[in-house]
Amino acid sequence: MSTNAPRRQRLSSRNLRERITGYGFLFPDVLGLLVFVVGPIGFAFYISLHSWTALSPMRWIGFANYTRLWSDVRFWDSLQITALYTIIYVPLLLAISLGLAVLVNQRLPFMPVFRAIFFVPVVLSLVVSSLMWRYIFDERIGLLNYLIGLLGIPPQSWLGSVELALPSIIVVSLWIQMGYFMTIFLAGLQDIPREYYEAAMIDGASSSTAFLRITLPLLKPTTLFVLVISLINSFQVFDQVWVMTRGGPASATRVTVIYIYQQAFQHLNLGYASAMAFALFVIILVVSLIQFRLFRTRA
């Protein structure tokens, strides 16, 4: 008893020091999170309970902004467009970035060069990329219409057509993001031990069987990460839409964040815009939790 007590005390004090050190390291991050993330979210919720034009004092209106949200056809339309964007964009992004990752994971010459090429759009600013694509899509002088013209296809108004504008923006988003997620998948692929594939080959498995039975299951954590992040990105899409179409033509590309921006800074309805932003936050949170739950269940 008597010999053990000081030892436990010594261990406790070391434990305490370690804990203090740990919290010390965590403190700046937690502080940043509180000030720059939790604080603004809380403040956005507070604003959402007010009528506020930014030019006048806030007026408490309770949940009136949320009631208005419920009956605002434009908000629901914008959510529908965002959902459509997400449904097309996320699976395509997953497929393309995984496909590219598998390609550049081959032990062939010049692979680092190809990896770099695919990654280049990620380092460009979203606005620069969007401006560049706006010219590529131009119906009169655009490169794309020139190329399809060589195939005998008549020129299209890629950004001026209700049917084509959203798909065109999705193409740009894919082009911008695929390099980043390719890198994430590549890291996941390189973590899979080669012995698994060698064993599968010995057992006579084809490449596609190895991909389906080894690669995909072992990439599940990576896929979950890509899925959650790309889904959040897709719900928050703004820059490329604003630069290329401003939500037009005829509101065909007015995603939710564009509508929030318009309400906040064109109509100066900051309280209502905050209510929409908060609603979008809840939607993203719920969808992300569902994804985690689904993956955990399947795992």
Binding site: E139, S157, S161, V162, R246, G247, P249, A250, L268
Partner: protein, 414 residues
């Protein structure tokens, strides 16, 4: 003790007041410091500062998208809004109804009122009080390329019917018939309002007590722009906006006509000296009078400024005293009209030049001020126009849907 405290308090208040007055007045405007117009403004500010050491002014030029987007809003929200700033008709009422705009009655002297065009004063007046200083007018017109029209044997269209007939001929000759603004927003509405007015229609009554959009005239005006887009007579996109005329196919000689404002003259002449162009009325429905719109920014003083009087004096000095500065603004820094008759008279020689003469003699007399509708109304009209143009919604249907929304919105006013 009490006396000492009072003295200290008075000293503190005095020190605070003098430090507030010593702060330079903040003058905010869109654009970059390198633009010709802003270089001129900066030279005026330097001149003012040299002779007014107690009321210095500091200019801040803000990129267009930020100025018309979040910058002003967030600055006012944070209590750091500028002392003097420019405001568009679309946001004018927001600043007035929220108490940001200072009463400029003492700047609008009887002499100035007599010099200003009545419509210009009316456009900045609410309940008899002027809240902003008008200093420019930019009417919208039809710019045309006589060479391209001659290629198809067409005259400049004067009516909507002629416009569509000419467009058909031009399209058949592989010429872009006309450029109109395709992107939704304030500018598109601004350039479409003349077509609405020419058809005898309007968005609402002048006092904004009743929506009047559901009318045959509004439906016809919507249908005209619908036809221009749906028949492929006008491009569906404009990467840099059609207000930037140098980026449009009209400037490059590929389009025969464009709906654009007076500001387009100078860049067309300087950047495209080979381009031959003319300026005329926007086509009107047969038997109707020509009507157009003029836009223009106005200068507001922040009622919450620490030095409202200094900001007013500066505004008065810029635009309401001499003729030289307003004249330099409209004839050298830009190509515009002044709402002051004395300035226009002093620029008689300048306005006697080709194109400008057409604007002065023909187009300006038919121009109405840009309406100062709240942004919610702008959005409703914009959606009706966009639906007609890009979803091929018949004008009558789009106008009826917009009418319901406008009526609901107008009920929420007051």
């Amino acid at each position: 003790m009490k006396r000492a405290f009072t003295a200290a308090l008075a000293f503190g208040v005095l020190a605070w007041a003098s430090s507030a007055l010593a702060q330079p007045l903040q003058f905010w405007k869109f654009g970059t410091a390198e633009e010709t117009a802003n270089i001129v403004l900066q030279s005026w500010i330097d001149e003012w500062n040299a002779s007014n050491p107690d009321t210095q002014v500091e200019a801040r030029f803000i990129p267009w998208a930020d100025y018309t987007g979040p910058t002003l809003t967030t600055a006012f929200a944070a209590g750091t809004g500028p002392d003097i700033f420019w405001v568009s008709p679309g946001l004018f009422m927001q600043y007035v109804s929220n108490g940001i705009a200072a009463d400029l009655s003492d700047v609008f002297t009887p002499e100035l009122r007599a010099d200003l065009l009545p419509a210009a004063v009316e456009a900045v007046t609410v309940d008899g009080v002027p809240y902003s200083m008008p200093f420019e007018q930019e009417p919208v017109a039809l710019f045309y390329n006589p060479e391209l029209l001659a290629q198809v044997g067409a005259d400049v269209p004067k009516t909507w019917e002629e416009l569509l007939e000419t467009a058909e001929l031009l399209q058949a000759a592989d010429i872009i018939p006309i450029v109109i603004e395709p992107a939704p927003g304030f500018y598109q509405n601004f350039t479409w309002y003349p077509f609405l007015w020419q058809a005898g229609a309007d968005v609402a009554d002048p006092d904004l007590t009743e929506a009047t959009f559901d009318s045959p005239g509004a439906a016809a005006a919507l249908d005209l722009w619908r036809t221009l887009i749906q028949e492929g007579y006008a491009p569906r996109t404009a990467p840099e906006g059609t207000n930037n005329v140098t980026s449009t196919p009209f400037a490059s000689g590929q389009a025969a006509m464009q709906v654009v404002g007076m500001w387009a003259i100078a860049p067309l002449q300087s950047d495209f000296p080979e381009l031959e162009f003319g300026v005329t009325h926007l086509p009107a429905p047969a038997g109707r009078d020509f009507v157009t719109v003029y836009g223009g920014w106005t200068q507001m003083v922040n009622a919450r400024s620490a030095n409202v009087e200094g900001a007013k004096r500066f505004t008065e000095w810029m635009w309401a005293q001499d003729v030289e500065r307003p004249l330099e603004w409209v004839t050298e820094a830009n190509t515009k009209f002044s709402p002051r008759t004395s300035v226009t008279a002093a620029g008689a020689e300048f306005y006697g030049q080709p194109h400008l003469r057409d604007f002065r003699d023909d187009i300006l007399p038919t121009a109405r001020a840009e309406p100062r509708y709240p942004s919610e109304m702008v959005l409703i009209v914009s959606e009706a126009l966009q639906a007609s143009m890009f979803r091929n919604t018949p004008g009558a249907q789009a106008a009826a849907a917009a009418q319901r929304e406008l009526a609901n919105y107008i009920r929420t006013l007051d």
